[in-house]
Symmetry: C2
Subunit: 338 residues, 2 copies
Amino acid sequence: MKLVIDAFGGDNAPSAVIEGVVKALGSWDDFNIIITGKEDAILDELKKYGTVDMGRIVIIDAPEVISCDEQPTIAVKRKKNSSLVAAMDVMARGEADCLISAGSTGAVLTGATLIVRRIPGVKRPALAPVMPTVGKPVLLLDCGANADCKPEYLEQFAIMGSAYMEGVMGISSPAVGLINNGEEENKGSELTKAAHALLKETDVNFKGNCEAREIFSGDYDVLVTDGFTGNVVLKEVEGFASALFGILKRELTSSFVTKIGAGLSKPAFKRVKKLMDYTEYGGAPLLGINGGIIKAHGSSDAKAFVNAIRQARQYVAGNLTEKIAQRINVVENTKTND
Amino acid sequence: MKLVIDAFGGDNAPSAVIEGVVKALGSWDDFNIIITGKEDAILDELKKYGTVDMGRIVIIDAPEVISCDEQPTIAVKRKKNSSLVAAMDVMARGEADCLISAGSTGAVLTGATLIVRRIPGVKRPALAPVMPTVGKPVLLLDCGANADCKPEYLEQFAIMGSAYMEGVMGISSPAVGLINNGEEENKGSELTKAAHALLKETDVNFKGNCEAREIFSGDYDVLVTDGFTGNVVLKEVEGFASALFGILKRELTSSFVTKIGAGLSKPAFKRVKKLMDYTEYGGAPLLGINGGIIKAHGSSDAKAFVNAIRQARQYVAGNLTEKIAQRINVVENTKTND
């Protein structure tokens, strides 16, 4: 199994990336890894860890860095020698099965689409982070790859998301919901009403419309939506949680008694924070690309990179790219023959 | 000042409605109120409170009730003798300045549009609840009246929302944001990119795109979006907060020590809950209708109805309908003359 990682993506690059790689190499012996980026800096970081099995590492020197402020299409086209484009090139040449990057989301999407390319038959790739809920985690897609979607895209998102939850998370017959402004079948926007009709005809385990109130209910394994709404859903909860914990902290430290109370309650708060911790789930796969692409969170630390590598291994071990290709093929061929 | 209230809307009707009316009559002497619904039941409820100034109350007997399960358009057309339609008729005849109902959102929207009708020049009315944030509360519109929107609707939402926050909440030059999947001007869906361009040309205090992460930052007074996204934004946070408090409660009661901690922290939790309490803000105005329409939450208690009546008084005192009509007129006339 061959993975490739962009050592210069994310706020904590390259140190957190390399620390994650070294830890992952120590934890699992079923993969080799290609690291792209400034070779000197990568070697300096690796030296920090004493004995590292260099036989499992290949470094590709790619000194340019794409920042989050750059216009993705231009950056990907111009910075051929960037850590991200070099990693995408590795994928395009078929020299690795899965890529990990915590770099600019736009650049990862653009690079994957232009350089690695889509699985034939896939209309649009979808960014699919896993979100914690009250019960089991839920895969939300699309979360920003496609601001404007057609009903057929949402249908394919449901198929790709189901394949992922089955193949990587080991869930049989994942429950799929369509995010909507009402539970009833006749409710929704033009997009969701048409998507609902298509989803009823697929072989995914479609449970119907999911009102936003139910996103965190734990009733769904896969939630399908357009990239605009998915982005709002994901970022709103991030913003709300941080606002709420900010207010809670302020109130809990406002008096002597509540301070003592907060101190005694600390273990409970820690467990809640751990439950809500996105780093536990690694990164967001970009589904529909001809090879695994894991977009790690920009603020990923070493632990998040270890989890992203675990996730990449599971993606490869589960033959996800092939499985998605097969399922999309079956659906699209049926349509052509209709 | 004349208000009209639907006594049979909401989960706690009619008792919570009448309790709210009686309390509001005791608190403010600047309004009279028309109550629509089953007359006997309304009188029975009123009797509970001893001395009530019946000179300020008119009851219109309207024994039918529209439930939340009914298809709104059909229900509004058929149930002419329902508490909701009777209240809408009062508005249409110009016998009251503002209506309050905690009934089915769909029926309130349909009734307002078909019976009370829009302000001339208003393309679509918008449901505009106030949400608590870390700082000042924010008006979010549209929250469900229009699942599919055109850029011009969003432009008008910004104008109507600004008028409301100025006239009712007393905020001068309210800061307006456009909910988007990125801060940058060139980011967004087709809808938000076009709406952004229009909003820059209006006379509202447009602060640009607001990523969903910033909704609760307290940086905005008015947030503009299509009704589908607004509905998702509103309901997601409702669902998330209840899921989070559920997990917190479970964890806080999981051991003896954290239980004591939770007990001591209780005053802080209570203050946080109060901050997050939607009932503090009354209901959601439906802006753009030829008269005030306040949609109270379905689960409103007496306190929420008192606050909705306060809000209705402020709407009328602020001449909101006239102000919205003026501002929309200026904008639409300028366009015609361009």
